[in-house]
């Protein structure tokens, strides 16, 4: 299967008008998604992952949100489409799964209806036909006895099942691109494994592009092909999964990787810590946004924001000192290997 570029995000900037003035939650984010690949977007809570994904479908409140940049999908800019054209894309060509399956399903309608609705809107199917299709979709996601389940309400299902319903709904119209915004955060590990497995399987089967948003690097390592790391509304690093984990270039990525507790880590050591906290969006550092927490930080970092730079093939980083980081990492890697 050829890798065609599904969506090109160019310099996306999303600004909220708030009481305290405009807040730019996503500031100049650019990346591409290809069909058949899983792009991971990671970052801590509040770094702008959800805003990025919702900006792509223009789901945010139009009255209080301003989008800038370009979202090139099939040659046209999503940001300049009319609401009607956009609606045709939503759920049909690009669809989305949200983090919390409990609150993301409408509690007052049966899951059958909610899945069927996609068919009714986009394929103009009759009610009965749409329900049959809905049952098919449920079957696809591996829910047992879907004929019965279609008539149940969200609250009658467990978390894992609800997330399957969300997936069934999102996949109803064979979208080209699936955006999954933290699809497993609310679930237990064993259920998470089930769901990730399902998404992976379906992706292969339907040759979609998947944009997987998460803050769990473990999940990224298991399912993604490429990763974008975000920090405070910006991309700070982008790479193939392998090279990101083996050779993180940004001190933040590195810190993050180290502070994730590992089943095979050394128990007796203290856990690695990234000191400090993420600054608020109202109070963004002048230079590099990570500078206040960075151990490599110099006066340059505090003065001047670095650009996102492509270092190797497909590996981009936004840091003045990536070389130092790289070298240190390599030395350490050798040391580890020796030990």
């Amino acid at each position: 299967m050829g890798k065609e570029c599904l969506l090109e995000v160019k310099n996306l900037k999303t600004t909220f008008m708030t009481e305290k003035g405009p807040v730019t939650a996503v500031n100049g984010v650019s990346f591409e998604i290809y069909s058949g690949e899983t792009l991971g977007i990671v970052g801590e809570s509040g770094c702008g992952k959800s805003v990025t994904s919702e900006s792509i479908l223009r789901l945010l409140n139009e009255n209080t949100t301003k989008y800038e940049g370009e979202l090139i999908y099939k040659g046209s800019n999503l940001l300049s489409l009319s609401e009607d054209q956009m609606r045709h894309i939503r759920g049909n060509e690009i669809s989305m799964i949200f983090q919390d399956p409990m609150t993301s399903l409408n509690p007052v309608y049966t899951i059958g209806y909610q899945i069927a609705e996609s068919f009714i809107i986009h394929q103009r199917l009759g009610k009965e036909e749409a329900y049959t299709q809905a049952i098919e979709m449920l079957k696809l996601t591996g829910i047992p006895s879907p004929e019965k389940r279609v008539n149940e309400y969200p609250h009658e299902l467990s978390g894992g099942m609800r997330q399957r319903v969300m997936i069934a709904m999102a996949l109803a119209c064979n979208p080209n691109l699936l955006i999954a915004d933290e699809p497993t955060t609310a679930l237990d590990v064993t259920i998470q494994a089930q769901i990730l497995d399902l998404i992976q399987g379906l992706k292969k089967e339907l040759n979609m592009g998947v944009m997987l948003i998460t803050h769990d690097l473990g999940v990224v390592a298991e399912v993604c092909t490429r990763v974008v790391v975000m920090y405070l509304g910006q991309i700070i690093e982008e790479a193939e999964v392998g090279s990101l984990f083996s050779e993180p270039l940004h001190p933040y990525t590195k810190g993050l990787l180290k502070s994730v507790p590992r089943l095979d880590g050394d128990r007796s050591k203290n856990m690695h810590v990234i000191e400090g906290m993420v600054p608020s969006l109202n109070n963004i550092p002048r230079g590099c946004r990570f500078a206040p927490r960075c151990s490599y930080s110099t006066s340059l970092c505090e003065e001047k924001p670095p650009e996102l730079k492509e270092i190797e093939d497909g590996h981009k980083v936004r840091c003045w000192h990536y070389e130092t980081v790289l070298q240190e990492g390599r030395r350490k890697g050798i040391a580890d290997a020796v030990r």
């Binding site: 949200f98 993301s104 409408n106 309608y109």
Partner: protein, 316 residues
């Protein structure tokens, strides 16, 4: 479900008992009694005393109370002293106008208020929103008697579009029936409308910020459908609650409206029973009105289940 209804009905007992005690003792604490009222201003004390005895009003209060409660337990609400009819009968005679009035008032207020609330929520922060909300605030601030007076002055006396006062039962034709009820219903429904509009707006705003609205949007559902299908139904529970509660206040509000528009409903009945000290009528009526209030709220609770399947099975 049945068990739930049964439980709710059982919980009526203490509520109604409270009402019974309060209404009985308030009534009997009021100076004056039916005997002196009935015999008029010039009656002598002896006459009054004699009538009092005949009516059983000279018994100790607790005895009267227990007699009454005992009757209640056997389903006997007592007799009207003046009308010489069973209280239930009297109540039913006066129920019609109030019911019509309340339904019409509630209907008008719902018809005006819910769309207003939805539009305000949709256009949050715009001048339409502000206009609607200031309007609804005025609705809350305007005492209903003042509104009743102004409406009657303008539409009935000046323009003569509607009759000033009075009532025609439904048997006289729907049009005649409504003709007499429109103004009272408007004045009675204004506060309700204001409350419902505000609640609708608040509730819609909350629902519109929910994740499932985003989900619907991400599916490509039209905005209109999102509002009317996905949001409104979810926003309905708090609206229903207000509707249920205000239905109770409608009866209270009817006291004033019925006085101004001279409608022979429960409000008038209650007022007259207080004035005339028709103990058992007042006690029975208030008891039934309270029961109706509780009952309406039970229905509202059951409607929750229709609107929201989550409420259907599990209740805390």
């Amino acid at each position: 479900m049945k068990a739930y209804i049964l439980q709710r009905v059982l919980s009526l007992i203490p509520v109604l008992l409270t009402v019974a005690i309060v209404v009985f003792f308030i009534m009997h604490l009021i100076p004056g009694d039916p005997a002196s009222v009935m015999l008029g201003a010039d009656a002598t004390e002896d006459d009054i005393e004699r009538l009092r005895e005949e009516l059983g009003l000279n018994l100790p209060m607790y005895e009267q109370f227990f007699n009454w409660v005992f009757g209640l337990l056997q389903g006997d609400l007592g007799m009207s002293i003046y009308m010489k009819e069973p209280v239930l009968q009297v109540f039913m005679d006066h129920l019609g106008p109030t019911l019509s009035l309340a339904i019409l008032a509630q209907g008008i207020s719902i018809l005006i208020a819910i769309p207003m609330g939805i539009i305000a929520a949709k256009k949050r922060g715009t001048s339409t929103d502000q206009m609607f909300m200031v309007g609804s605030l005025l609705g809350i601030s305007l005492p209903s008697f003042l509104l009743a007076l102004l409406l009657s002055l303008f539409f009935a006396v000046k323009l003569q579009w509607f009759p000033v006062a009075g009532y025609k039962p439904l048997d006289d034709g729907l049009l005649a029936h409504l003709e007499y009820l429109i103004l009272p219903a408007l004045s009675l429904g204004a506060i309700q409308a204001a409350l419902i509009a505000r609640m609708t707006r608040a509730s819609m705003l909350e629902v519109l910020s929910m994740n499932y609205i985003k989900t619907a949007k991400s599916k490509g559902v039209k905005e209109k459908l999102i509002i009317y299908k996905h949001a409104l139904r979810n926003a309905f529970i708090p609206i229903l609650t207000v509707v249920g509660q205000t239905f109770g206040t409608l009866v209270a509000g009817a006291v004033i409206t019925e006085t101004v528009f001279n409608i022979p409903g429960l409000g008038q009945l209650i007022m007259n029973s207080i004035v005339q000290r028709d103990y058992e009528v007042l006690q029975g009526t208030v008891l039934l009105v309270s029961a109706a209030y509780v009952f309406i709220n039970l229905i509202v609770d059951l409607l929750y289940g229709v609107v929201d399947p989550r409420v259907r099975l599990s209740r805390k």
